[in-house]
Amino acid sequence: MAVRKVSAAHIASLAPREDFPILAQTIRGVPLVFLDSAASSQKPHEVIDAMSRYYETSHANVHRGAYFLSEQASASYENARITIAKFIHARSAKEIIYTRNTTEGLNLIAQTWGLQNIHSGDVILLTEMEHHSNIVPWQMLAQRSGAKLVYTPVTDEGRLDIEAYYRLVCEHAPKLISFSLMSNVLGVIPPAKEMIAAAHSAGAVVLCDGAQFTAHYPTDVRDLDCDFLAFSGHKMLGPTGIGVLYGKRALLEEMPPFLGGGDMIHEVHLQSFSTAELPWKFEAGTPAIAEVIGLEAAILYLQRLQMTRVAEHDHAITKYALNRLSELPWAHVIGPASAEDRGAAISFTIDGLHPHDAATLLDRDGIAVRAGHHCAQPLMERFNIPATARASGYVYTTSNEIDALIESLKKAHAVF
């Protein structure tokens, strides 16, 4: 075997690996290398235990229960909201609405604020790098309202064309601007704060998709000044089935409710109802209580790791992976080749090897990567490719795992 010079200092896992029970297993006799955290992260013991403990000791439906268990469950459910509010620097826990995931948060805005405020001829400005969940709800709204969708293009390098963005903001004076704080395909992190300031001076309301971003970077909604932010618990060490929609209080107050039912009402009569206060106005039906508790445990875990250190670790892994991929002349990164303003989602194609085949061959070595269009078909069309393979690391990822990816890719390439 050829001697390879060690390219950079070894990067250890930021989180203790043993905190993540799933990572201890072997797949087909080889240790699992999990590089699909952009799709969903793995969960530490603390999250899993918090949820089991809740079911074992304090499960009862929240709100309206005048007995010990229900009061406990309600308190945990509402305390988690405060933890989440602090995590993203919201002004108040009233600005934190529980959803199922990012997708539901984006749809909620489209179907409440959107239906109320978007009219025929209005422009909604999106970007070419959005996830389907930040495209389709707006297409559905456009069909109903007659609004027009305009997209900020992505450059050949794979970054948002910021010049074009500013031009489109001036030209169209969009009613709503919605964009991802970090692309799940390109890894790109657009200059959100500047983009939001420009949007506001043109009179637009700004919604941010934080599905990827909030998992990896400190998030401060007051500093960003976004009007809405949607994110998912499952990408940030938390359970599936729980997401968060942040909204500025003044906007949330004016919005009509989303789903109707229990918990979201103040009073109901045969012919009319009045809505509950924020945030419950947007939370109809029995919520995902255990998942809320799991998400709080995940956030406390991330806060102990410190989000600035999470960001540094993920940046180091990204830089290392981009470097190592650049050693393979037949592998092509889709997205910026430099780790600057770029997060830990790395998409690539391989000459002569379809991403699906690559993923299957990597799986033979216990390496989990995703292959496909990553719910971003317009972006695939933009780059004229059917699909990519994507490796995405997180707090438990090590440079050894990236080395394993590279070695396995070499093997796979040799087969074809």
Binding site: P355, H356, D357, T360, A371, M380, P386, A387, A412, V415
Partner: protein, 132 residues
């Protein structure tokens, strides 16, 4: 686990040099399907003569499994009557592709059979839902 369990030389051969790849100028039947999971797309044109498949061509972009399966399936189709085409089963294709194919990749292997059954032969959607 050995890599070549799935990517045997036989499959790679069909992928590298697919049979019946291209387009028919005037097909009697034409259909195209894509796999929404991965965006793979297969289109197929068929020409019949005396009630039998005289020529068949497929085209499209995709992984080795979907392309090899299309190559193998179109070979099988030549000379068959519509009745005989209907007899080609999922298992026939999966057997040819190899036993070691996971559920995720089965969709790739069966994409071209979908084109044949639903598109060319016009079988109803429900056929695909059988629990076998």
């Amino acid at each position: 686990m050995a890599i070549d369990d799935l990517y045997r030389e036989y499959i790679l051969e069909h992928y590298r040099s697919p049979h019946n790849k291209g387009d028919l100028l005037q097909p009697d039947k034409y259909a195209a399907y894509s796999n929404p999971l991965c965006g793979d797309r297969i289109q197929m044109g068929v020409q019949f003569q005396d009630g039998k498949v005289a020529d068949v061509r497929f085209n499209g972009n995709g992984c080795a499994i979907s392309q090899a399966a299309a190559s193998i399936l179109t070979d099988m189709m030549l000379g068959k009557t519509p009745e005989e085409l209907r007899q080609i089963s999922r298992d026939d294709i999966l057997e040819m592709i190899g036993p070691d194919i996971g559920p995720a990749r089965q969709k790739c292997a069966l994409l071209s059979l979908d084109v044949l059954r639903k598109g060319i032969l016009g079988e109803p959607e429900a056929e695909d839902e059988e629990l076998d």
